[in-house]
């Protein structure tokens, strides 16, 4: 059978079993199939013949007219007052705030369809009413942003400001530690009166006043896939993060354990036991869990 006939028969749902097998062997089969599936996205909107008929034969049901003329001015005046007040109350200052608790995270969609994932123990605040004029948010903690294209998008933190036009980046603003990683596009970081442009795969770190520039090979933050990844980070930071990801508190003798020890590695957010092992074994420590208290000790 000719190729053209085969395709036409397929289009008319008229293929025999053997013909269908032959059709599937055509080079362009997957293209045809994809086109056929994609076409379904363009389906005409729902149409209800019954309802449409009713509005045709009995249009008066739809259009009820009453004489409001006498009252219209009064109604308008009242509406102006009520809506005006409502506007000032609700729209002028529509501050929204989200807080992800310890061992939790929140996925957010902003009014412009930008997306944010808020890591544990982090707070994000923005003004909903003002969003159209300025895409401006403040962050305390860590979040991953996938920004839709549009006007300038700014994330304010205590340590610095990050602004972009449309891109993907992670901001971590923890006490004494500020980190921005750009995964896509270009990000501008402003801190202490200095401004830095951060291209794709670049990392900016501000730790106790020192700036470190680094690169990343990842395409999204490790915590998105429920892991925390550290590269040459002081143990203190790792333990802080562990306390955010699990409902635990960590106890140790500071004279015995140096929390400035440098650690490189990652821990999972899904199993406390393996997470603790991932941290303690490389650093030659042991741990003991007692309910929500985890005690760390140096290996004798």
């Amino acid at each position: 059978m000719k190729k053209e006939d085969l395709i036409s028969k397929w289009l008319d749902n008229d293929l025999t079993h053997e013909e269908l097998e032959a059709f599937k062997k055509l080079d362009a089969f997957s293209s045809y199939n994809r086109i056929s599936n994609a076409a379904k996205y363009f389906e005409a909107p729902d149409f209800d013949p019954e309802e449409s008929y009713e509005t045709l034969v009995r249009p008066e049901r739809r259009k009820k007219t009453t004489n409001y003329g006498r009252y219209s001015m009064r109604i308008a005046a009242v509406l102006v007052v009520v809506l005006g007040t409502a506007y000032f109350l609700f729209f002028q200052n529509q501050e929204v705030s989200y807080y992800a608790e310890n061992a939790d995270r929140i996925n957010l969609s902003l009014p412009d369809d930008s997306e944010v994932v808020l890591n544990a123990d982090s707070r994000l605040t923005y003004d909903k009413g003002d969003w159209k004029q300025s895409r401006d948010l403040s962050l305390d903690g860590e979040a991953y942003f996938v920004v839709s294209e549009g006007s300038k998008f700014t994330v304010r933190t205590d340590q610095g400001e990050v602004s972009v036009l449309g891109t993907q980046f992670n901001v971590k603003a923890r006490p004494g530690f500020f980190e921005v990683i750009c995964y896509e596009g270009l990000v501008q970081v402003d801190y202490n009166g200095t401004s830095v442009k951060l291209p794709k795969s670049h990392v900016f770190k501000l730790y106790n006043g020192t700036v470190v520039n680094d690169r990343t090979d990842f395409s999204e933050p490790s915590w998105i896939s429920k892991k925390s990844f550290f590269k040459s980070a002081p143990l203190q930071q790792v333990l802080d993060e562990l306390e955010r990801q699990y409902p635990i508190s960590i106890d140790y003798d500071p004279t015995n354990i140096d929390t400035q020890t440098i650690y490189t590695g990652s821990f999972s957010h899904e199993n406390l036991e393996t997470a603790l092992q991932a941290i303690t074994i490389p650093l030659n420590l042991t741990f003991q869990t007692d309910g929500e208290i985890v005690t760390l000790k140096k290996n004798e």
Binding site: I7, D12, I35, A38, F42, A44, F47, S52
Partner: protein, 171 residues
């Protein structure tokens, strides 16, 4: 309605039957031909009003082709120079269960290109193709709707498919 007891469509029963039977096809036909900004439902009602006003001269068997001709003419008068705007439908067609972001982005781009390619088809090709692929109509049914031969429908749909493939497989 191959044979009818009624001489014409002036009976309200006959008329409402026709409406319920044909209005969706008419609606879809106009939507696929001219796009969504066109208010297909208004055109459907207009066409039926014309039928009602002219009911004495139309037998029930002729009503279908009468309606398709009328709605086409009404819309053509309106459509001069307007470009087709088919909108993505809101509801998602679920074809895959696990969608990763790359897949979604790629799919979105594909649909953009698809929309573009659709608007480059001739009206006849687009209508026949979408009625067939989206509404699942057989070639014979489409031929009756459009009042053309089955062979012509087959040709239109096949050409539409090949054109789309050429447009979409590029790059």
């Amino acid at each position: 309605m191959s044979k009818s007891l009624f001489k014409n469509v002036c009976d309200e029963q006959v008329f409402s039957q026709l409406y319920k039977k044909l209005s969706k096809d008419l609606h879809d036909f106009i939507y696929y031909k001219f796009g969504g900004h066109f208010n297909p439902e208004d055109k459907v009602q207009e066409a039926f009003l014309k039928l009602w006003n002219n009911c004495e001269n139309v037998t029930p068997e002729k009503a279908k082709s009468y309606l398709f001709t009328v709605i086409n003419n009404i819309s053509l008068n309106d459509a001069k120079h307007k470009k087709v705007v088919l909108k993505f439908r809101e509801k998602k067609v679920k074809t895959y269960t696990n969608e990763n972001p790359e897949f979604l982005v790629e799919e979105k781009e594909y649909l953009k290109k698809f929309e573009n390619a659709l608007s480059k088809l001739t009206e006849g090709q687009r209508v026949a193709f979408l009625l067939n692929r989206v509404e699942g109509k057989r070639h014979k049914e489409i031929a009756e709707m459009l009042n053309i031969s089955r062979k012509a429908v087959e040709k239109r749909i096949y050409t539409a498919l090949e054109k789309l493939r050429q447009d979409l497989d590029e790059i």
